[in-house]
């Protein structure tokens, strides 16, 4: 084991890589058990992803030879992607997902920020509103009444049915509010004395200090909107309004006539086409993941979890 002294921070918790004198050196058995557990867990996560990406890129010949799956494409080709993007369905569903993610996240951030700021100061009706929000963590109104509400609002088959029910989350509210409460009150008081309105204080003082938490909460909302599938199953019948997750469910998980609906009559095995759809849904998450991770390091999330 290394005896170098490192004070690098890993995920917000500072660790010293020097072994304290009282800690015995672990035996070889312990070391290897630990290594096996960690390696197996990591491989189980990475292998399916590699398999899916490789298979989506593999050419016909190799796929047929390998019997359906490859771990490494020998002659990478984008043929499968060309095919899924030829028909309108995948592009449409990507458009839908992008729309609900962007609009939904902006809306959710607006609702959450205003609510969190208003309740982070002592304010009229503050307490009952906070209690009303926290109660949502303990109880759910139920599937049927929620469905009836969406129907009453005339939102069935409307993209707003995928946006509005997700426009506020109690957990994100708690994270945001506890961050706002840590902003020194003097800053806000002095701005108020200078005649700033509450909106100006929020916009010019509080938000610039809260970029990290806004980024984290925004990413959380965005991932939630991108990943949501059940609302679409409930509320959307029209194929042209399917988000990518519902498309994925219907074509890959249920495997119902993917080729027909995508207008595919050519030869590539369906596997690589299905894999391409999986990758299309996966890539945006992989793209934002480094940002999500960067903010774990700031301890924003763990801090909030500890309350």
């Amino acid at each position: 084991m290394t005896t170098k002294v490192l004070t690098k921070k890993a995920s917000g918790l500072s660790y010293d890589s020097k072994r304290p004198v009282w800690k015995e050196k672990p035996s070889l058995l312990y070391q290897s058990i630990k290594a096996v557990v960690l390696v197996l867990f990591s491989v189980s996560i990475l292998a399916p992803m590699l398999l899916v990406v490789s298979t989506s890129l593999a050419d016909n010949e190799q796929l047929v030879a390998a019997g359906g799956f490859v771990m490494w494409p020998e002659r990478p080709t984008l043929e499968a992607y060309e095919i899924i993007f030829r028909g309108p369905l995948v592009l449409q569903s990507l458009g839908v997902s992008l729309f609900i993610t962007v609009v939904g996240t902006l809306l959710a951030l607006f609702v959450t920020i205003t609510m969190a700021y208003a309740t982070s100061r002592s304010v009229l009706f503050g307490r009952p509103v906070i209690l009303a929000i926290l109660f949502t963590l303990l109880f759910a109104p139920g599937l049927i009444p929620s469905f009836l509400m969406i129907r009453e609002l005339g939102l069935l088959d409307s993209l707003w049915s995928l946006i509005l029910p997700g426009a506020f989350g109690a957990f994100n509210f708690v994270v945001m509010r506890s961050f706002f409460m840590n902003i020194p009150g003097e800053l806000i008081e002095s701005a108020r004395i200078d005649g700033a309105s509450d909106w100006q204080i929020l916009w010019k003082i509080v938000l610039p200090l809260s970029k990290a938490v806004v980024a984290v909460v925004g990413l959380f909302y965005a991932v939630g909107f991108w990943n949501s599938f059940f609302n679409a199953l409930l509320y959307i019948n029209d194929h042209s309004k399917w988000p990518i997750q519902l498309l994925l469910r219907n074509f890959v998980v249920q495997g119902s006539g993917a080729a027909d609906q995508l207008g595919i009559t050519t030869s590539p095995p369906p596997q690589s086409i299905q894999m391409a759809v999986v990758v299309v849904a996966l890539v945006p998450i992989l793209m934002v993941y480094p940002f999500l991770q960067k903010h774990f390091a700031k301890g924003v999330i763990t801090g909030a979890v500890k309350g």
Binding site: T2, A10, S42, F147, L148, Q245
Partner: protein, 319 residues
């Protein structure tokens, strides 16, 4: 963010008249409007919509004109074998999760915490957190590609001339599959809370224990686990409140493959009875029963935690 601090930020908390406070807080109240509107439309009004559980709800009549039937829908549920099955199956699957899922993040956290190399720690955490951010649809798709009938492993078995294994469609092993999927998706993420809690344990406690001759396992037992007790209890309470939910999307995605016998839980029963089958009132009754029981469970678990001298989830720290 102590209470005292929070209070001092809002200016003097003198008893002002309602009217002057209203004037002072006008803009703040305006800021609450979007959130309050959301709560009303998508939470509190739908809660009232649960009255249809006590009605023979007919969509063309609406809530106003549908016939009242009192507790009849609930009475019907308890003699409905499908509901009874869904109920027991939910508890069965929840027990599996509690026993086999709960300890995994704790064990992973203990291993990661004991690593000396920050780099290995970081790489592992990066990998382990990732699946948490994937949708259940993607997770099931991955599992299907690996373990499904036409998946990678069975494909390889077939090529080797061996029998295939129905990982994804065998109702008997479904609880194992479900727990494995949950571990794959969320164990790494759940580890984060334990890691944060481990970091708060005072190192001098370990040092003192070691000086007194406590070995590795005794230190885990006498220092680490007591240090993690509040977090473990908190998470257990949350789990208990969630026990009737087990994992809705996961089940609805796999119910076709494995059959209703193994994959029917209270939530899927509500969905298939109410929305697919049009039995609005019995679906709503099942949903309401589940919601109320969950609330009681979480309340009871919290009471119990207070008895054991722990904070639980609501330690009167609201506000």
């Amino acid at each position: 963010m102590s209470k005292k601090q929070a209070r001092s930020q809002g200016g003097p908390v003198l008893r002002k008249s309602f009217r002057s406070r209203l004037r002072r807080d006008k803009q703040m109240l305006l800021m609450m409007v979007p959130g309050v509107l959301f709560l009303l439309l998508f939470f509190y009004i739908p809660i009232l919509g649960n009255v249809i559980a006590f009605q023979d709800y007919q969509p063309y009549l609406g809530i106003g004109d549908s016939l009242w039937v009192g507790w009849q829908n609930f009475a019907d549920l308890f003699i409905n074998p499908d509901f009874v099955h869904a109920f027991w199956n939910t508890l069965y699957l929840a027990a599996w999760q509690l026993v086999f899922l709960f300890p995994v993040p704790l064990i992973l956290a203990l291993i990661v915490d004991s690593l000396m190399s920050p780099r290995i720690r970081k790489v592992f955490q990066s990998i382990a957190y990732l699946p948490h951010f994937l949708s259940w649809v993607l997770v099931i798709a991955f599992f299907q590609q690996m373990l499904g009938g036409a998946g990678f492993i069975n494909n390889s078995l077939r090529q080797l001339g061996m029998d295939t294994i129905p990982f994804m469609t065998n109702p008997d092993t479904f609880p194992v599959l479900v727990v494995v999927q949950m571990i794959w998706k969320d164990a790494g993420w759940a580890m984060i809370i334990f890691l944060a809690a481990l970091a708060t344990i005072d190192v001098s406690l370990y040092e003192a224990a070691a000086a007194d001759g406590a070995g590795r396992w005794r230190r885990v037992w006498h220092v680490t686990l007591p240090g993690l007790r509040p977090v473990i209890i908190l998470l257990l309470i949350l789990r208990i409140g969630d026990i009737l939910s087990v994992g809705f999307e996961q089940f609805i995605l796999q119910r076709d493959a494995v059959g209703a016998g193994a994959a029917e839980v209270l939530d899927t029963f509500t969905y298939y009875t109410g929305i697919v089958g049009g039995g609005w009132s019995s679906g709503a009754a099942a949903g309401l029963a589940k919601g109320v029981v969950s609330l009681l469970l979480i309340w009871g678990a919290n009471k119990l935690a207070h008895k054991f001298g722990e904070d639980g989830i609501f330690a009167k720290k609201v506000g």
